[in-house]
Symmetry: C2
Subunit: 466 residues, 2 copies
């Protein structure tokens, strides 16, 4: 008999009376006084376990079934029955319970069925996907990732694998990790006494990338619509609930596009993804709404149902200056918006996502396109209720002389970026793109307050376990 996933079995209809075979792990066992045992068996294919009823007459009922504990692996054959319990349409009446893997010392099993702190789960990141919460996160994370690929693929974008290893340390997006194979006890030296990176694996000092944007621009100016989706790195000593040293980023880049075009793209993308999550992972989202964050579902619905507001940075500053809110950080034209400002705009003023555009040039990167006013650049941030900034993007400076001016002004060394400047020498076109912190979106969708709980094995300062 073919093995079925719990998901497909629970979703099937008209199966009462037929035989089925499942494989999975015990979530709970409950014994009734009438001499029956109820096993909740999950296999990760959906949120709900299936209920398996085992009668005491089964040959290994005393010897094995009554010893089953949370986490034991089983294979079960039985007859599908309409369930009398609430919350489930069907259950399995077992004809065979085959124990595949026991739990060594159930009393100390770290994923015992009691409620655990998120800290405890983090310390057992290798076992936490077995829990309701981490299993649901993993499925929703996958759903968002698949929806993103689908969204871009359907619209003719090409996924481009930009390099993780880079010699360029000049983007200024943050501290970088050095990558090397040099023997630290015998560092090679140049005649001048400096460390000789010429002897290192790549022949020069090398780092982990902070963004694939500059590289993907080169593919954008050939394939028109491209995106990256891969890991990026920041060696920042930030021990917060929002920062990871290793995180995944999605960066679309569109040729012949301006700032308004990618603002549109960002809105369509978020709506597409959130719709996919609500449609495909209704089970997990119901759990998040019930146990983690009451607004998990309504927050997404609010975004799907409303047009995003769009304002210029200058207007945003005016709103913030005129409002009666008390801010920790004072507001004036020229500041980078703090999280409190962003959240005020999205949560209290607009009560929906708002795209803030055209920021002061002095707080933005060298590659952003200079506006005609010569004091702002064509940058945008998407601010969402409940999180603040979730997307940051810009139109890129496609005019070589303007780009060079900015690089000089910001003291960006040109030698590593001649290839980037070439893109402006040969058939340059207006183009624009944005970056989406993938893990932050998972955190936003699930309502999980700590980003360490939405990535399988989080890397943070002093933490590289597993």
């Amino acid at each position: 008999m073919q093995v079925e996933s719990v998901d497909s079995l629970l979703k099937s209809s008209g199966r009462e009376g037929s035989e089925a075979r499942i494989q999975g792990w015990i979530r709970t066992r409950r014994d009734s006084k009438a001499g029956l045992s109820f096993l909740a068996v999950h296999d990760g294919s959906c949120f709900d376990p299936i209920q398996v009823v085992v009668e005491s007459g089964l040959h290994n009922y005393q010897s094995e079934v009554l010893r089953l504990t949370t986490g034991c692996a089983v294979e079960i054959e039985g007859t599908v029955k309409a369930s009398e319990g609430k919350g489930q349409a069907i259950e399995l009446l077992a004809s065979e319970v085959h124990v595949i893997g026991w739990v060594e010392d159930p009393d100390t099993y770290p994923m015992s069925p009691k409620r655990h702190t998120m800290e405890h789960l983090r310390e057992h990141a290798h076992l936490r996907p077995r829990t309701n919460v981490s299993g649901a996160v993993a499925r929703v994370r996958n759903c968002i990732a698949q929806a993103l690929h689908r969204f871009f693929h359907e619209q003719g974008f090409n996924w481009v694998h930009t390099p993780i290893l880079t010699a360029s340390d000049c983007e200024g997006a943050g501290e970088m990790f050095r990558v090397s194979t040099l023997d630290l006890e015998n560092l090679p030296r140049t005649d001048k006494g400096d460390i000789d990176f010429g002897k290192d694996f790549f022949g020069e000092e090398s780092f982990l990338t902070v963004s694939g944007q500059l590289n993907v621009e080169s593919y954008c100016l050939a394939l028109s619509k491209v995106y990256t989706f891969g890991p990026t790195f920041r060696a920042e000593n930030s021990n917060t609930t929002r920062h990871l040293a290793e995180f995944w980023m999605v960066e679309p880049e569109v040729a012949f596009a301006d700032l308004a075009d990618i603002a549109d793209l960002s809105e369509r993308m978020l709506k597409y993804v959130f719709k996919a999550v609500l449609a495909e992972r209704a089970d997990d989202m119901a759990f998040f709404a019930q146990r983690i964050d009451k607004e998990a579902i309504s927050r997404l619905e609010n975004i799907i149902d409303n047009d995003f507001a769009r304002i210029n940075y200058s207007e945003a500053i005016e709103i913030l200056e005129k409002c009666k809110e008390k801010f920790e950080f004072p507001v004036s034209w020229g500041i980078d918006l703090a999280s409190e400002h962003e959240r005020f705009l999205a949560e209290k003023h607009f009560k929906k996502p708002v795209i803030v555009m055209n920021y002061p040039k002095d707080i933005k990167a060298f590659y952003m396109r200079m506006n005609d006013d010569a004091r702002t650049v064509a940058a945008m941030d998407v601010l969402a209720p409940g999180i603040g900034e979730i997307i940051g993007g810009s139109q890129r400076e496609e005019r070589l002389e303007k780009l060079d001016e900015r690089m000089d002004e910001m003291e960006i060394p040109k030698e590593h970026l001649d290839w980037y400047r070439d893109l402006r020498r040969y058939g340059t076109v207006p183009h624009a793109g944005f970056g989406l912190g993938f893990d932050r979106i998972v955190s936003y969708v699930t309502g999980m307050g700590n980003i360490r709980d939405v990535i399988p094995f989080p890397r943070t300062p002093k933490n590289i376990a597993f």
Copy 2:
């Protein structure tokens, strides 16, 4: 008027007489004696450019159109006409040719329309996606990647983002890159005088991963069907056409599965992906078959149409020992198959893909499941004509005492892998998976002989340009 992609315009039917607007880059310009110019305009959306006919009466014909060279960016409006040229159904008769970006000094433009060596293209990796060959590679690469995600998603697999940064250096898959933020000029020392990695970013010596397998097993033993798809690293000084220091790998892992199950999975996956490539990128594949490798298409058809052969390693050795082929490396039971052996089996003996199973334990990794004969493990390699090994996998050792025996035998330190051993303590089940070198598959599909030409920005010893 909406901009259309060249792909959708070329694929549309019944459009003759209607207006259209496109944006892209000039591939070639040809002027006829009759006072017409023919522009081939591409935008990366498909292999073929669209032919644009420009009449000499156009207002900027003399001043601009006649100055257009390969690589110039243009926006063109015009009327769709049935084309009289061969190889294309329609063309555009231009009513407007707007030049967006010129090419600075066309004579030295590195992507001029003449034929370039692959070496030249590699040296200009930022511009090569504009060429026929690198553009086709990029689209096929994307097609394969999307098909892989779709294949796994449709079958209920969850994409798991396993960590890139790891403290575990014990898998033995190859040399690793060290990742650090220590100041090399002032390395911290312990009391004993050793380098104090406790002061490093993660508090211990850290590396780039060589495989996500061990980590993804932990998700497999909770979600049942999972896979990784991400970058992996080898700090090996291999300057070959088959090796990269940074490459992408796909690693599915299935719970309650044995070696035969994942052999089936690997066969279904390859067939699914190759079908997708032939269906979705017929244009690019026709180019590869015509210009790069005559067998590019027939090789894939051969794989799609035939059941993979399956033999045990011991049978493979017998075949190799009995055949009359001259091998450089002598054959005897216990050797690791060399590329010449693998290719003989796939190309000459079976003439189709063959899955070799149950290899001697001494040439395989510690985590592979010991067979009852105690001298082979449940490992498999998929060998394909024209490349040799394209997939390597195994059933994993799910029995803790057997795993420990192997770790002791192979002197694998246990302290970093206690979490991995936990997976065998708590509800262990048979499980199996394999690894697919993604870049090698792109190389195999396209017939591109050098793996550096199928990844956007290759990283190899002494090479980290761009």
